[in-house]
């Protein structure tokens, strides 16, 4: 890391407008996320991906649950709803059924989606509800101060597993695969181009699409496990991510500081809930 020469550079403070500001609630920035948190980067990729899809912005809604990632809904300049803990997917289900012309995106965290909201995510995937789910996985409950999550790898220390987690974590892509999700990908926030592309593909996908985004939590996960800064976690992703498109999801579980297999694992087509309900395809319905 290079540093500036000793002489203090004059600070320029002219009014600047970030090109992504039109898609953000600029009046709420800077956001609440810690320095080096990966959620902001994921949102950055999302708004860029959304712009590239050409889906009209007024026809996109973002729904979040509770937690650090739960705050995403409050920063995107779209119709957005911040639900109770774990319930983003049922809200999105109601909205997607009432407004079939809208693209409903659930943007939430691992604790929100696969722990307290676990029943909702598996059933929404099973129904092939027409929603896109972006799950930020930082392996920990951030907002409440670093408790063990259902995605925390074994051994990892959290405030509720002070001697190291003994539980088996979820392999989230495998879980989603078992439930019948039509699109499953995993990227780290370091893979900005690939993550953006995956988000674009998920947004254009009809049915239940799911992206797991591995993101650094420096304040809690890295600190409690002495993994350095958020930037150190990014370096770890750089050195330990392995891209395996089409990998068997059974094999993509993540151990503590072990290899992270990334890629697009599943991309299939099948009728959505509403198509079956309206009898537009085979598979029952009236």
């Amino acid at each position: 890391m290079s540093t500036a020469p000793a002489k203090a550079a004059p600070v320029e403070r002219k009014e600047l407008h970030h090109p992504k500001d039109t898609m953000l609630r600029e009046d709420r920035l800077p956001h609440i996320w810690c320095p080096t948190c990966g959620i902001g980067t994921a949102v950055s990729c999302f708004v860029e991906a959304l712009r590239e899809t050409n889906i009209p912005e007024e026809k996109v809604a973002v729904v979040s649950g509770i937690g650090c990632t739960g705050r995403v809904a409050g920063y995107v300049n779209l119709d957005s709803f911040h639900t109770t803990h774990g319930r983003a997917i049922p809200f999105a289900t109601g909205l997607a059924l009432a407004k079939p012309d809208m693209k409903v995106v659930v943007f939430s965290g691992d604790g929100d989606l696969v722990a307290i909201g676990g029943n909702h995510i598996i059933n929404a995937a099973r129904r092939n509800m027409n929603i896109t789910v972006i799950c930020i996985n930082n392996f920990i409950y951030g907002m409440t101060g670093g408790q063990c999550a259902s995605t925390t790898p074994q051994i990892a220390k959290t405030s509720t597993t002070p001697t190291g987690n003994t539980d088996y974590p979820f392999n989230v892509p495998y879980l989603m695969d078992a439930c019948g999700a039509t699109y499953i990908a995993r990227w780290t926030v370091l893979h900005i181009r690939r993550l953006k592309k995956a988000m674009g593909e998920a947004l254009n996908k009809k049915g239940f699409s799911f992206i797991e985004v591995i993101a650094p939590c420096a304040t809690l996960y890295a600190r409690r496990n002495r993994l350095g800064t958020g930037f150190d976690l990014m370096k770890f992703y750089h050195d330990n991510s392995e891209i395996q498109h089409g990998a068997d999801t059974k094999m993509v579980d993540i151990g503590f500081q072990e290899k992270i297999i990334c890629g697009k694992f599943v991309d299939i087509d099948k009728p959505t809930f509403l198509e079956r309900y309206r009898g537009e395809t085979n598979g029952g319905g009236k």
């Binding site: 890391m1 290079s2 540093t3 500036a4 000793a6 203090a8 550079a9 600070v11 320029e12 403070r13 600047l16 970030h18 090109p19 992504k20 500001d21 953000l24 920035l29 800077p30 956001h31 996320w33 810690c34 320095p35 080096t36 948190c37 990966g38 959620i39 902001g40 980067t41 950055s44 990729c45 860029e48 926030v189 370091l190 900005i192 181009r193 953006k196 958020g230 930037f231 990014m234």
Partner: protein, 96 residues
């Protein structure tokens, strides 16, 4: 940027050029932009912003190729590059 060999179409390809802007007050000093800039355009400033973070500073403006990587990786929406039209291809490190 160091190249193993000069590409055959190097004459025809016009390398784009960009100008980097930093929204200083949004920065939280993560250094992602500085570290991942492929052209080493940025360094960490010695100055603080209002919240006490060292923000990035442009040191080699001419090297920016407007790849937008800093913009995309920044978690704070605090940095971006704009393309500069009608400028000659920027000098590479080899010939500076």
């Amino acid at each position: 940027m160091k190249l193993w060999r000069t590409p055959l179409d190097a004459e025809k390809v016009r390398v784009p050029h960009g100008v980097v802007s930093v929204i200083i007050e949004r920065c939280k000093g993560c250094s992602f932009c500085v570290e991942y800039c492929p052209r080493d355009v940025l360094i960490i400033s010695r100055n603080f912003n209002k919240k006490g973070y060292h923000y990035p500073e442009v040191v080699s403006e001419g090297l920016c190729v407007d790849c937008n990587l800093c913009e995309d990786i920044c978690p704070e929406f605090a940095i971006y590059s704009d393309p500069v039209e009608n400028t000659p291809a920027p000098a590479t490190k080899e010939n500076t």
